[in-house]
Symmetry: C2
Subunit: 203 residues, 2 copies
Amino acid sequence: MALLMAKRAAASSSSSAMKSVSAAAAIWMRSYAKVAVGTDIVSAAPNVSLQKARTWDEGVSSKFSTTPLNHIFKDKKVVIFGLPGAYTGVCSNKHVPGYKENIDKFKAKGIDSVICVAVNDPYTMNAWAEKLEANNAIEFYGDFDGSFHKSLDLVVDLSGALLGTRSQRWSAYVVDGKVKALNVEEAPSDVKVSGADTILGQI
Amino acid sequence: MALLMAKRAAASSSSSAMKSVSAAAAIWMRSYAKVAVGTDIVSAAPNVSLQKARTWDEGVSSKFSTTPLNHIFKDKKVVIFGLPGAYTGVCSNKHVPGYKENIDKFKAKGIDSVICVAVNDPYTMNAWAEKLEANNAIEFYGDFDGSFHKSLDLVVDLSGALLGTRSQRWSAYVVDGKVKALNVEEAPSDVKVSGADTILGQI
């Protein structure tokens, strides 16, 4: 219980820090088209790739290859969720574990891939996924330069939390590239609408 | 031996990727004053802070505090080394361990702090330091927005290695803020001049 309260306090406190920079972030985000239900993600983010989580040595042997969005979404039913960063509290303690624990329910509903993405490099994402023991259930991708999240207008300046420009906390159900359901948290520290339970009910 | 060769191959291959973007990086780095022997780091990077590595929960309880350079360098003998990123191969396998293994020699020479810094957030730096079991010997700091390395003209675009704008690989011996010795690798994948052995000979 003490731990739970500590987490809540942490979420609350970090929420303030995260909110304090949202106005500045909103200004430079306006040039991007906001993702919504009905958006074709592949068209909305042309020429954007994600980077599959891997070790550095795997990165080298893959010649630092990236994965076009087309490969991720075409002809597939995908649940994708984004979060502010590897090794941040709410992401590690609540958001990812919720998807990991429900992976059988997603598969039973015909979901091909459950994907976690963040504005991190793919080596950090890989190490974090291993630490969470979630890399067998969930596919992790880095968006190292934020181009995916910028294209979808899902970035926020979290410099106040020592993170820089990162992703909002969000989830989407995507069929053949088309967004069928979308949930974006008001504050990146919240997991009110972007958790596994919500999107399971939307599939 | 196979492992060693794999590491060398990794270093060699990543060197090419890292070099390929250096020309573009050089252009936008020109506006910064290059750090050199004799530079006062605190003056060269005014109003710049680093972020002590910590868990997310510690970040929240610290109110996301940062550490002014003055606190790190004033009246102290410091060995500081920078590298392209947490969870990248050469950094994890060679650069950090070299400093960790020689910590007693640094202390015997009167060094107050041996510091590792990278363009990463402090939570990722903390997790990486724990994984390397190096956080008792070495102080780890994040430079999450790259402002420290930009001020010293020590950044390089490593987008080709899926990292984005990161630090060169470098080391310095700094007394009361003044750079007494400086070693910057030609390629970020090298550890030819920035390792512990070299700077031990310069103190």
